[in-house]
Amino acid sequence: MANIIATEYITLDGVMEAPNKWSFDFWSEDSAAFKYQELFASGSLLLGRETYTGFAAAWPTMEGTGDFGERMNSLPKYVVSTTLEKAEWNNSHIIKENVLEELKKLKETEKEDILLCGSAQLFRSLMEANLIDEYRLMLHPVVVGTGKRLFTEDVSRKSFSLIKTQTFSGGIVVLTYQPK
């Protein structure tokens, strides 16, 4: 049995798009350590097509990423997409059909956390289907004004239980929730 853990970079106005444009200013050793521990506690990555494509173009050739990068490249990746034909990043598996059923099976067979990163559309589908076991919102101290939001108007009203609050020296706050 494994849990699906959603880990998301967001701004104070709820934007998740292009964190490379707004997150670096707030990066610190303790937030890096948090991401490191998170990745090493996970057994696989779960990604939507857009996030997958971005990661697959960057991680295999990115330099200086150390064992974090090695783990990103070696972990199994599950990509949810109806259109993607090939997934060439090492250890990638496409989930094309019966997505919710396939993910329920995956939760049965995997042993370690399945880490859902970015992938806002997939995030919302899984939230609606109650398949996410834990939400980690990395709230960055910035209002960007424009960009795709993590929660859009097609989600339904939902309450959560706060599990943990962590603050990092660069000003990032991680709010961890479970479904109620």
Binding site: G14, V142, L150, F151
Partner: protein, 185 residues
């Protein structure tokens, strides 16, 4: 020089009110009541935009609310209120006056007065103008553990990104988290 701070309850999707202004999702308990009472004791002036002013006036003037939540209602009703509105105020709430003349000059003058802090609740349009004029000294955001799906965004139409610095965080038993920021310079 006194401080102007903004305080709001917001949802995880960044709304401070439902599309129709509804606030029944507010996750409040006795601990929040204690916090609100203490915060009110540090406030000398309440600042509002017209819409929030009208909503608050109606809410806090109700006899039912006064009886149910006396410790918040009493200071909310008694405190001096300054309202930013293009037209004369159509609602009478005790101790209220409209800000005359230019917004920036008026707020600067208000901040230069002696006394306790100035607080801005709700009033998202006014907040945008004040953020752009760099007049807000502190942002207190109480994140409620709920997603609404639709609502009125707290931060609207900012022309420039706003960079903040985290100065405090406090977790409430109810699952709310109070995040306090100041503008980053």
């Amino acid at each position: 020089m006194r401080k102007l701070f903004m305080f709001n309850l917001i949802t995880l999707d960044g709304y401070f009110a439902e599309p129709d202004g509804g606030l029944d999702w507010h996750n409040v308990d006795a601990e929040f009541g204690d916090f609100a009472e203490e915060q009110l004791s540090e406030i000398g002036t309440l600042l509002f935009g017209r819409k929030t002013y009208e909503m608050m006036a109606e809410f806090w003037s109700s006899e039912e609310v006064k009886a149910d939540d006396e410790r918040t209602a009493t200071p909310m009703n008694a405190l001096p209120k300054v309202v930013v509105s293009h037209k004369p105020l159509s609602v009478n709430w005790e101790n209220s006056q409209r800000l005359e003349g230019d917004l920036v000059t008026g707020i600067q003058a208000l901040k230069a007065e002696d006394g306790k802090d100035i607080a801005l609740f709700g009033s998202a349009n006014l907040a945008t103008s004040l953020i752009e004029a760099k007049l807000i000294d502190e942002f207190r955001i109480l994140v409620n553990p709920i997603v609404l799906g639709a609502g009125q965004p707290l931060f609207q139409n900012l022309q420039q990104p706003l960079h903040l610095e985290l100065i405090a965080s406090r977790t409430f038993k109810s699952g709310n988290v109070l995040l306090t920021y100041k503008p980053k310079n």
